[in-house]
Structures are given as structure tokens and as C-alpha cells.
């Protein structure tokens, strides 16, 4: 049985109501209807997931934004669920990664139940399937105008210090970094970096670039394909401990998830996830 958890948070109400109605009709059409529950101030994600578990539900589907799915990951608390995601907003990071961008495709995918086991990364108490961002990494997959990007790339650098796999320390002056479980860009797809089924995290970092180089590699910077930029660093690991600069924020899709110092780990193939045909890994 499917249990759909709908989250109206961060979605305009009119838009939410319309998508909910459309979803109900598509679920009936594809014969994957199940129980639907909506997050309210009195019924939080945790309550709804607990209810689903007590009813013996095996498949949970988060309907909303990336944040909805992150909340679901936290709420499942290592219980054995297959998870799905239906984006209610146009440009979600997870939607791009899983190849589920519009309602029709999502419902069709859920009906076909293509399930993949994916690695699940964790920073402090937050789980993530995609990537962590530092510095200009925060602008990944958010196209900018030329002048705005040039101003950003000319900004200050971060003196980053990390301990990797409890084996060695890295220190570098960087402009931006991504800690990738997987990334949703077709441009970088197919490479060894960002495979969510290899049990590894990939760190990609870029140092301060000249204006000319930044302009030349603007597309690579915006899509997070840092390894294609000369002088970039790419390191594969399983455990990261951010040491410095203390208090610097780490984000997922622009939302702060932790501050330095903090630790990141990955558990291989922990998550059973319904994925689309157009997934980017």
C-alpha cells in the first residue's frame, strides 16, 4: 500500500490545491492510489510516518519540496520503507536527480516501481541524497546572469580545513565546494563522480579563479561540474570532518543544514528509492 504525505509548506496554496487534485486523478488513472495525508501544524511529518509504520505501510511517497523529502528521511528512523518523491514545485534538486519533474511522469514512475538502492549520506542529524554546498557551491543549478555571476566569483575565499576518512587532513583556500552523494545535472552525468550507488562521497572544490577563467567555465561552475575546471580538486572518501572555518554554514539546495565543525558519513545502499527513467546517475 502507498502512503502519500503531502506538504503544503513553501508552495502557494492555490498551486498546492490544484496539484493535489491533479495528483488524485492521476493516481486513480494509474491505479496506484493509496492513503493520502497532509502535513498540518498539528500533524507533523514524524506523526504521519509513525502512523504509516503502525499500519504496515511499505511505500512512503513525499509530495512537496526537497525539504519534505529530507524531513521524511529523518522521520523514517532506519525503518524499512521504500521511498518515493513527487515534486510540487517546478525546480527541485531531488526531482532532477531522480528524473521526476512533472506530475504525470512521477505517477507513471511510481506505478512502474523502478526501485534502486541508493547510498544515504548524513551530516550531523540531517540526511541527504544529493550534495552539500559551501561558498559558490550554493549557486549550483541556479542559473545567474553574467554580471551577477562575475560579482560572485570575485568574492572572498574560504580557508577550509577537513579531516578525511580519519586518515589525513586537507587544507585549502577555496571559492566553493560540493560534497556529493549524487548531483542532478545532466552535464556531469556518466562520470565517476556523484554515483549514489558506489558507497562513496565525492568532494569537489574550486580555488579562486581569474575573471577570465570564471567566465570561461561559468557553465561548469553553475552546474557543479568542478572537476572539469583546471586546478580543481576531486577526492573520494567515506567520512569527512569539517574543522575550519568555525561557524561557516553548510547548505543543501540553499538551505542551511549545519555549521562547521560538523561530520559527514555515508551508508552504502541504505535507501530503497523509486526512480525515474530520466534519472541522472
Amino acid at each position: 500500500m502507498y502512503y502519500y504525505i503531502l506538504d503544503p509548506h513553501n508552495i502557494p496554496q492555490k498551486n498546492f490545491e490544484r496539484q493535489q487534485a491533479e495528483l488524485q486523478s492521476l493516481l486513480t488513472e494509474f491505479n496506484v492510489s493509496g492513503e493520502m495525508a497532509r502535513i498540518t501544524p498539528l500533524r507533523l511529518m514524524q506523526d504521519l510516518v509513525d502512523t504509516a509504520a503502525s499500519r504496515g505501510v511499505k511505500t512512503l511517497v513525499a509530495c512537496g519540496t526537497d525539504e519534505t523529502f529530507s524531513q521524511m528521511l529523518v522521520a523514517t528512523k532506519d525503518r524499512d520503507f521504500t521511498l518515493g518523491f513527487i515534486p510540487f514545485s517546478k525546480d527541485t534538486q531531488l526531482g532532477r536527480i531522480l528524473g521526476m519533474t512533472d506530475l504525470h511522469t512521477c505517477v507513471k514512475t511510481i506505478a512502474s516501481r523502478r526501485i534502486e538502492k541508493l547510498d544515504l549520506a548524513k551530516i550531523n542529524d540531517s540526511y541527504f541524497l544529493s550534495y552539500l554546498e559551501l561558498g559558490v557551491g550554493e549557486q549550483t543549478n541556479k542559473p545567474m546572469g553574467f554580471m551577477a555571476s562575475m560579482r560572485l566569483f570575485a568574492g572572498s575565499t574560504i580557508d577550509l580545513k577537513m579531516r578525511i576518512d580519519d586518515s589525513y587532513n586537507i587544507s585549502s583556500k577555496i571559492m566553493g565546494a560540493l560534497i556529493i552523494n549524487t548531483r542532478g545535472t545532466e552535464m556531469c552525468a556518466g562520470g565517476p563522480i556523484g554515483n549514489p550507488q558506489d558507497g562513496n562521497l565525492d568532494i569537489v572544490m574550486i580555488e579562486k579563479l581569474s575573471r577570465f577563467t570564471a567566465a570561461r567555465y561559468k557553465q561548469e561552475i553553475e552546474s557543479g561540474c568542478y572537476e572539469k575546471i583546471p586546478g580543481a580538486t576531486a577526492i573520494r572518501c567515506q567520512q569527512i570532518e569539517f574543522l575550519e572555518p568555525k561557524g561557516y554554514k553548510i547548505t543543501v539546495d540553499g538551505n542551511e543544514v549545519a555549521r562547521i565543525p560538523s561530520g559527514v558519513t555515508i551508508t552504502a545502499q541504505k535507501l530503497r528509492m523509486i526512480v525515474g527513467k530520466n534519472r541522472t546517475f
Partner: protein
């Protein structure tokens, strides 16, 4: 394994501004352009770029050294010391290529096709006397 291939296929790349302190281990191809102190070990190919400064013992299957390495280098396959390469330390390898302009100070041990170490001819001749 040339520079371009190293960049494109290198699963791990240490950029020029990066400093690493400790035991750097990799399962895939490794390219180093930064500074490393400690140990470097990869089960595949290692490319040490011109800007690299390594103060560590190095182990790899194949290696191209175009930067500075201070430490012992152990390579089971081919070792290339490029024209800008500087190696201060002992090296052991399967095959060796030293380009003109390279600097090397240390002992070199190579294995013959059967995997054994060939004894110096002079030493045998002295024993007979």
C-alpha cells in the same frame, strides 16, 4: 597516461592550492598538483604534476613524476621521471624512463622479467679474483 588523461580519468585530483597532511590512499587513479606530507598510496596510476610538492613515501602501480618528490617511490609497473621531475629518494620499479632534464638522487632497484633482482656484474668479477 598523459596529463590530459590523468585529469579526465583521475578519480582523485589534488589541486595546486591544496595541502594534505597524513596518509592519502586511493583505489583509483590519482593526480597530485598540490602539497602532500605523509604517505601516498594508490592501487592504480599516479600522476605528479609540475606544481606538486610531495614529501612522502609513494606507492602506485604506474607513476609519472613531473613535480618534486622527497621520499621513497615504489612502483610495480612503469615509472616515468619527467623532464621537470625531481626525485630525492630511493625508487623501485618494473620499468623506468628518465627524461632529459629530470633530477634524481637516490638508489634505483629494478626487477628483471622473471621478477628477480639482477646482481651487479662487477661484484661477481671481484669475487672470482
Amino acid at each position: 597516461m598523459d596529463k590530459k588523461e590523468g585529469l579526465q580519468n583521475g578519480e582523485s585530483i589534488v589541486g595546486p592550492s591544496v595541502k594534505i597532511d597524513g596518509d592519502l590512499k586511493s583505489q583509483g587513479n590519482l593526480r597530485i598538483d598540490g602539497t602532500v606530507t605523509g604517505k601516498v598510496k594508490t592501487s592504480q596510476n599516479l600522476f605528479v604534476g609540475e606544481s606538486a610538492k610531495i614529501s612522502a613515501d609513494v606507492e602506485a602501480e604506474n607513476a609519472i613524476i613531473s613535480g618534486v618528490v622527497q621520499g621513497n617511490v615504489k612502483v610495480s609497473g612503469a615509472l616515468v621521471l619527467g623532464k621537470t621531475g625531481r626525485l630525492v629518494g630511493d625508487m623501485s620499479c618494473g620499468t623506468l624512463q628518465v627524461e632529459e632534464g629530470a633530477y634524481f638522487a637516490g638508489k634505483c632497484t629494478m626487477k628483471d622479467a622473471n621478477g628477480g633482482i639482477i646482481e651487479p656484474i662487477e661484484e661477481n668479477a671481484t669475487k672470482k679474483k
